[in-house]
Amino acid sequence: MRVSRSREVLVPGLLILALTIIGLVALLEKGPLQVLTAPGAYPGNNGPLGTSILYQKLRENYTVIPATNWGYLRQVLSPCNVSVVILIVSPETPYTNEDLESISYLRSSCKKFSLLVADEGVESNKVLEGIGSSLRISGAILQPYSLIANLSTPWGWSGRVLLDKASAVNPLQTSSNLEPIGFVEVLGTPIAYYENIGGVEVVVVGDGSLFLNQVLESSVGEYSLSFMKSTISHLCGVPGECIVLMEASKYMGLDPVEVLRSNDRRLISLLNIVDVMLSFLAKILHPSTWLPPLLNLIDYSIRSLIELNPYFKGFIVVVSAILVALMVARERRVRDSMLEDVTEVDWYGFGEFRRHLLSQGAKITKQDFITLYNMVDSILRTLTGSSLEDPRLPQVLETLGINAVEAERFRGFMVKYYRRATKQSLWPPIVLWGRVARKAILLSERILEPLGVSIATPSRLELIVERGLRVGGGS
């Protein structure tokens, strides 16, 4: 058996298109994508000069946050109920006052604050100054390269590490809070210091290359890593209550497009090519890269065509008209009428006649007069024992308080026209039955009212007529 499949449109294409355009414009509005590839000691760089290995190793025991924006971290860590260790390895760009304020804020608000600087340059000195340390890195690279340094810390770690490009660490003044913890073997130059500023512990090492990927991956890397772990362990205290903020904002970023375009083999060798390619793709696919040029191109093309050929304007109008017509034709048009409300109705017997009576008034016929005559006759027979034909009726009615003259006039009127209506008499020859019946109704009301019966108001009229019929068996 063949099963027929029906295609059900759940989401209209136009809606998807509109949402896509909204999404693209929203991305565009956020500005161009900031995909940077840093060749330096950036924790995200897994090239030889990066610190991604250090970052990974520390993450095994601690909560490590790459500090890409110190102002944002200040907001996130407010209130700061944990111990914080700031780790700075060879920053390349200077710290701003806002960065320093944020770091100072962390220093004053966090449960415990410590700083570990490994830098051969002078960029870190501003941070040291900002937190009130008297240590400074000289920035003068010691010659020759690849010296050996002996390290011995107050928390019990001692050993030798291989320096690359190192710089001396000098205190501004001598103090009991200061303790040199490392010296270059041959030169005797202090290469590392420990300082305690009222509970704020600071460790400064005059060489950032100790913790670069190329060193940690080498055979001598284990000493550097051991020193780092021991130091962080001392500065942190309990690992669960400590956050390590690893500097990630002060490195020179390179645009991946520029890196690939430069074809600088030395530079590319310092970077992870897969990361560069992914960054390149992300940059290329972002609408800020292609949408404005695309729109410009379309705009330029149309303008060029219009300038080239004046008839092209007409062509654009025709194409636009066709597009608009197609768009409008796709829509199913309906008449936009109001919802039909419920029409409330009353039902009546003789509904048509009733409506006519209410709208155009009553038209009374000869038959109505006959009906009235029979009705009144039946009532009088029931209530007085005399019929309209009975000449004694006025006297009977007089006993019931009705004027005998008036009663006689009424009786005469009714009988005269009843005979005429039933063709027992031909007099009067011309009769306007509407007027006669109308007058008969008014006279009847006057006669029947003292008897407690009315044709014009709710009364027991029908019951009396029925009783009359029951007793007399009349029509």
Binding site: V324, V342, R354
Partner: protein, 440 residues
């Protein structure tokens, strides 16, 4: 089927927008931005209506009503809650309800806007009329604020089954009790507790002093008055329906009049401790209750009266019911089967139409089993006298007189079948009617 359709306004807007763009391209006027804005507005409206239509379709709608007694206000309320984050505007609402109901407060429909994560209420009131009425659902149509697009019509909320009970007044009840005392409606022909004088007998030591017959004492004889004990009887109410029972102005139709009469008598007999039941016969209904004593019997009757649906039971009808009701023997057998014993008082209320007249006639074989049958015959044509001036009323009465005469003939015929038939006019209160039944 599309969820959203365009209206003719869209075509006009697109054409105007297109013209503006064309003027700009041709260089006649710098109206391109305006034209594009109009076209973008149309697209934005389409997107909005599509999203809002989805939100409207997933709205949670609750319905409820208050009021259950005839003549009182029945308040119907719907609450529409928008569960989404999309504001729903503008929605045109219209309430579905039977044609024969009339709103006393509120509007049949309206325009609403439902805020995101918010609710709006829609409330109307009816004057309750006896029976079962299905109210709802709400019909809703969504449009964008400019009316360029219109969503398909949605039905929102539940259908409420509103049951309205007939009104039995305390005043009528008192009149009935007085009437029964004066007439001794249910006589046992045995001395005992009661109000009706039975006989005089010699005094016995346990007799109450207030029963002493003072006239006999004056003659030197100590005697007491005896009263006739009242007995419990079985009363079967029959309500025969057809469309003429719906003739007349709102709340003043034969059906409502009949229901009030039945409810009043039923309350009275239930207070007296009689066994009562009701049989409702109509084109689409053949329903009965069991004979129960006291309040329970009364409540059963009220429940049945409040479950009469005008559409299903009176205006439409069913072949199965007509087959039973139209057969004299089947009908008598049906009634006999529901009665636990013979000699039952039957009080039937109906209008004087051809359909219902045959219904009552078909009950006449029950007389051979000792049933006493009283039929109250209503005249539907007389229920239309309101809104006339006195003269028009008189003319109308003359015109319907031929019909009234047919009722007279019908009543006469019923009487010839042994049914105590009484004509009832619209302006007779239940107490007057019961007084006429029992001749007090």
């Amino acid at each position: 089927m599309e969820v959203v359709n365009a209206t003719r306004r869209l075509l006009a807007l697109i054409l105007v927008g297109g013209l503006f763009v064309a003027f700009d391209i041709v260089g006649t006027a710098r109206t391109g931005v305006l034209g594009l804005s109009l076209i973008i507005l149309a697209i934005a409206s389409r997107v909005y209506v599509t999203l809002a239509q989805g939100a409207l379709a997933t709205c949670s709608v609750r319905g409820s009503y208050k009021g259950r007694v005839e003549g009182g206000d029945v308040d119907v309320e719907y609450e529409l809650c928008n569960n989404s984050i999309i504001p729903i505007a503008v929605v045109e609402l219209s309430l579905n309800y039977p044609q024969y109901l009339k709103l006393s407060k509120g509007s049949r429909g309206g325009l609403i806007a439902i805020p995101p994560r918010g609710c709006v209420g829609y409330r109307v009131s009816f004057k309750g009329r006896v029976g079962l009425h299905r109210i709802g659902p709400l019909r809703a149509v969504l449009r964008d604020p400019l009316g360029l697009y219109r969503g398909v019509e949605l039905s929102l909320g539940p259908v409420l089954e509103v049951r309205i009970r007939p009104f039995a007044s305390e005043r009528v009840l008192r009149a009935l009790l007085q009437a029964s005392r004066a007439s001794g409606i249910s006589r046992s022909r045995r001395p005992g507790e009661g109000v009706e004088f039975y006989s005089v007998r010699d005094y016995r030591p346990e007799d109450e002093l207030r029963r002493v017959y003072w006239k006999a004492l004056a003659r030197g004889k100590l005697a007491v008055k005896e009263f006739e004990s009242e007995i419990s009887t079985y009363v079967l109410f029959v309500l025969a329906l057809d469309e003429t029972m719906l003739y007349g102005p709102y709340l003043e139709t034969p059906l409502e009049h009949a229901s009030r009469i039945l409810a009043s008598i039923a309350e009275y007999v239930s207070r007296r401790g009689d066994y009562t039941a009701i049989l409702t016969i109509g084109p689409g209904i053949l329903a009965r209750t069991e004979f129960k004593r006291g309040r329970r019997g009364y409540m059963n009757i009220i429940e049945l009266l409040s479950s009469i649906n005008y559409e299903d039971h009176i205006l439409r009808g069913s072949h199965e019911v007509k087959a039973i009701v139209g057969d004299k023997m089947k009908m008598a057998k049906y009634v006999k089967a529901m009665c636990p014993r013979e000699r039952i008082n039957v009080i039937a209320v109906t209008s004087a139409s051809e359909t219902t007249s045959s219904l009552i006639k078909n009950l006449s074989p029950l007389r051979s089993l000792g049933f006493s049958i009283n039929a109250l015959i209503l005249i539907p044509q007389l229920y239309g006298l309101h809104r006339f001036n006195p003269f028009e009323r008189a003319v109308y009465r003359l015109k319907v007189h031929s019909d009234v005469k047919r009722v007279h003939a019908y009543i006469k015929e019923l009487r010839s079948h042994g049914v105590n038939a009484i004509m009832v006019t619209p302006w007779e209160t239940p107490s007057k009617v019961i007084a006429r039944i029992y001749g007090v």
